[in-house]
């Protein structure tokens, strides 16, 4: 497993967005971080897993993170979900839980299927990702430039946890850097 993840993180070796997101999650007192791994999230997942005041929860499918977030909030803890754009499609029905119960929700989505995408199988869901979130009532905030990330993460956390809104931060593939096809 480690060999694969090292290969996949090659394109995102320094991932400068990771500490920015991590700091925002800490600032917002997020205590449960769930994820389905993505190369673009690899550094952030490592940081969250190493943080003693965070529980990191690996999921088998992204919709689990919606339910987990709801349970965490019932119990007084804030939660965030890390996923790739392809995982958004797995969440559709479960997102109704957030609307039905008005549960704060913050997800950070790494985009695939756009800038320099080499894999045509990623394009369909990548293209549908913002609309899929929005039709289920989730506000999307797309980040194309790294300098926008810190203020937008802070804003997203406020919108989510103070205004009870479901918020998705979409990290564009052009900002992340396209995944390298390593042979």
């Amino acid at each position: 497993m480690s060999a694969i993840s090292e290969t996949e993180t090659g394109a995102h070796a320094d991932s400068p967005w990771a500490p920015i997101i991590f700091d925002a999650l800490q600032q917002a007192n997020v205590r449960q971080v769930s994820y389905v791994p993505d190369a673009g999230h690899a550094r952030l997942i490592r940081m969250c897993s190493a943080a003693e005041n965070m529980k990191s929860i690996v999921l088998t499918t992204e919709e689990e993170g919606i339910a987990l977030c709801t349970g965490a909030w019932l119990g007084g803890e804030r939660s965030a979900l890390l996923m790739q754009s392809s995982g958004v499609g797995n969440c559709i029905n479960m997102l109704s839980l957030l609307a039905s119960c008005r549960v704060p929700f913050l997800t950070i989505v790494t985009m695939r299927g756009e800038f320099q995408e080499f894999n045509p199988w990623q394009v369909s869901m990548g293209r549908a990702t913002p609309a899929a979130l929005e039709i289920m009532g989730v506000t999307t905030i797309r980040i194309d430039r790294l300098e926008d990330l810190a203020p937008m993460m802070a804003s997203a956390a406020t919108m989510a946890f103070e205004s009870d809104q479901p918020i998705a931060i979409l990290l564009s593939q052009s900002m992340l850097g396209a995944k390298k096809w390593l042979k």
Partner: protein, 196 residues
């Protein structure tokens, strides 16, 4: 197989929850929601009316946030099957205060009584065991209910999954509040938190 499904769901759930103390309960949509409500409404109950497949993971988030309290998920075989991967997720976290109770009649009771995978012989207790749950057993009689009641009321070694084999039958509807915002706020208030 049919002969082990002797317990009646309403009585089984009422007996299971008779001594709940400070337990928190999440219910899976459909009959388990009605059964738990019929056993006695409580601010520590969170009833799902949708989000099929999400009961166990809602319970996990709650159990991780409230590690001192026993958390019990009461759901059906079909609901748990839809969220079957969640057993692996829970098995990795190993919360010692989370119990999943599956009311297993082997059928999708809300939708016309079609046979479920559990009804076809897929064993949910065994699936939980291989996912790292530390206590997994099936209940087919009143003595088993008593064992389950004692287990779910305590902090254990790790997560539990208990299958209660019940009769496939119609029961009178007992419908709790459907307003999810209210149910959420009620649970949070019960635990000492504001609505947001």
């Amino acid at each position: 197989m049919a002969e082990v499904n002797r317990l009646h769901r309403r009585q089984a759930v009422a007996d299971l929850l008779a001594d709940r103390k400070d337990m928190l309960i999440v219910t899976g949509l459909g009959s388990p929601t009605y059964d738990v409500f019929a056993a006695g409404d409580h601010p520590g109950n969170f009833y799902l009316w949708g989000a099929m497949g999400g009961a166990a993971l809602t319970g996990l988030g709650l159990a991780l946030a409230q590690p001192e309290r026993p958390v019990t998920v009461v759901t059906g075989d079909g609901e748990q099957l839809m969220g079957i991967g969640g057993l692996a997720t829970i098995g990795v976290q190993r919360p010692n205060n989370l119990s999943i109770v599956v009311l297993d009649n082997g059928h999708y009771g809300e939708t016309g009584g079609q046979m479920s995978h559990a009804g076809a012989g897929i064993n949910l207790a065994e699936m939980a065991r291989v996912c790292g749950f530390t206590e997994c057993f099936e209940v087919t009689d009143e003595a088993g209910i008593a064992r389950a009641r004692e287990a779910i009321g305590t902090i254990g070694e790790g997560p539990r999954l208990i299958v209660i084999r019940i009769v496939h039958e119609e029961t009178p509807r007992a419908l709790p509040a459907r307003d999810g915002v209210w149910l959420k706020a009620r649970m949070r208030e019960h635990l000492g938190f504001g609505p947001n």
